[in-house]
Amino acid sequence: MSCLAPTRSVLFRSRLPTAVSRRCIHQLPTLPYKIENGLGDFLSPAALRTVAVEYQSGLLANLNELVKDTDLENKSIVQTVLSTARDPAKVLTFNHACQALNNSFFLDNLKPPSGRGSTIPPDLSNSIIKSFGSPTALKSSLSAAVTGMSGSGWVWLVCDQRTELGVVATYGPSTLLARTRMQVAASAGRAAYNPNRSVGSNTVQVGNVTPGALNYVGQSLVPLLCVSVHEHAWLLDYGVWGKEEYMRRFWDVVNWDKVDEILKKFVRPDFGG
């Protein structure tokens, strides 16, 4: 745009948002921490680079190719996910956008461990105790859900408007922000639902998760935290079978302050939950 580099007088500082003259494409978002230092014992710098840079930029590159010259090209990732969730013709776009969003959400709620260790803020702690009994029970429940998944997916800590927490596990590219076709089919109990034929979004319950929670996805649940259950995340540091150790070390890098902040933003019991 500007090889012309106009000399703008300081008098004419525009108060309103300026025109967007250059085409924007999806690019890597910045993380709240440096990638070069890794995430403590959880992810080494190389592993963090695999998840945060290699995987994410590959997803965004594919997404850019798919949405080029369509009406989705100027939408944000979350808007892309919401627009394509129910459209069978756009399942590839949905898959890539969904994985990019979930991966970004997973990384955004982590932080490198400080020397003192992280404490759970009081509001969040009360909700955990109300729903699970203790933080240890929550960790055990979520870790069990991760261990029980034989396939790639995401495990979510969710909350409803009464600050009741729960655990939901979803396979493949799947979002909690909207009900996808598969979820609608599954919740209606339709016999046509056949997971072997499904391509992409596939939310099936696994053991130890809150039963029936999947039916409320996109309706009354908000996500607070998610865990990436993908081999590319633990392969470099822990080996092919390192999922359990990966989950054990995950709890040291969770940014509980951020989760508490999200809980306060997303949950408004005064609105009548």
């Binding site: 990732i77 009464r162 409320y216 933003k265």
Partner: protein
């Protein structure tokens, strides 16, 4: 898959006891969608609410997730309403913006006005192509004229008399605040030459009904208005297409008069320059008032009043 089989029987039982089941529990409205969970069997798990999220919460969630995934958000990417609501400023206007708005596409080759030929680049597919290397500096010149007139507290009138141009002229006039006006519907004949008849003698005495500059987004449909401006000696700016004589207005902008995006771009650029001029004028008024106050204070100090 065993869980899927377990869910099916409970759904059937809910459906087989229709009336009573529907009104028995608080969550029964969803019984056809969600299988009922028996509290006694799963007492160690929390029971989650099924009530849909309030809209405020949903907006909050989407706004939190907007910054995740990639750097592209609604705020920093082009949206279809931007040419009207976020036009380019004259300082950052580029040739590509003009091409993107279709400003270079003129009318049929056979209809080319001979006096317009200096502004043409050539012909293609039976259509005249307007040379944007002329358009860009002429548009900036028109913007400079508008800024200078506004800087002297002049009023600018934007004229765009079709349904499609009405929002553009309205926004352009709003941008110039007290110095901007617009005609979005029909130009009433005699507005400038028969003002006493149209506005009444009382309004003529108390207000000034003649603008200091008129900007036409579709001059070809408003030739009578242009004639009135010439009679009233008011300078004019206009978007001139290839079938129109560029000499009808004082500052022609050779561009496509049938493209709405081009008209919005031109109106936006000119009105932003006009807004800058209005700001300079207002600042000069404030500074003059301050200087006057200072001078009055100094006079009082140097000539002490007799008590």
């Amino acid at each position: 898959m065993s869980l899927r089989a377990a869910a099916a029987p409970s759904l059937k039982t809910a459906a087989s006891a229709p009336r009573r089941a529907l009104f028995s529990t608080s969550r029964s409205l969803f019984s056809e969608v969600a299988p009922e969970t028996e509290p006694s069997a799963q007492s160690e798990f929390p029971t989650l609410s099924t009530k849909p999220l309030p809209r405020a919460v949903r907006k909050e969630i989407i706004s939190h997730f907007t910054n995740l995934g990639s750097t592209q958000t609604r705020g920093n990417s082009f949206q279809p309403h931007h040419p009207l609501h976020r036009p380019a400023s004259p300082h950052s206007l580029t040739l590509s913006a003009l091409v993107a708005s279709g400003a270079h596409i003129g009318h049929a080759r056979a209809l080319t006005r001979p006096s317009f030929i200096p502004y043409t680049y050539g012909h293609r597919a039976g259509v005249t192509i307007i040379n944007l290397d002329h358009t860009l500096p002429l548009l900036r010149r028109a913007a400079n004229v508008t800024r200078a007139i506004a800087q002297a507290n002049g009023t600018v009138l934007f004229v765009g008399t079709t349904d499609a141009l009405r929002p553009a002229v309205r926004k352009a006039a709003e941008r110039m605040g007290p110095n901007g006006f617009h005609v979005g519907t029909k130009w009433l004949p005699g507005t400038l030459t028969n003002a006493v008849e149209l506005f009444g003698p009382a309004t003529i005495k108390s207000h000034s009904v003649k603008p200091d500059l008129v900007v036409f987004l579709n001059p070809a449909q408003n030739l009578h208005a242009i004639r009135e401006c010439a009679i009233a000696r008011i300078p004019t700016i206009g978007i001139i297409d290839s079938d129109v004589d560029p000499r009808i207005v004082m500052y022609p902008i050779p561009a496509n008069d049938e493209s709405i995006r081009t008209a919005e771009l031109v109106a936006g650029v000119i009105s932003i320059a006009g807004r800058e001029g209005v700001e300079i004028w207002q600042r000069s008024v404030q500074e003059k008032a301050k200087a006057d106050r200072r001078r009055d204070l100094n006079n009082e100090i140097s000539e002490p009043q007799d008590q």
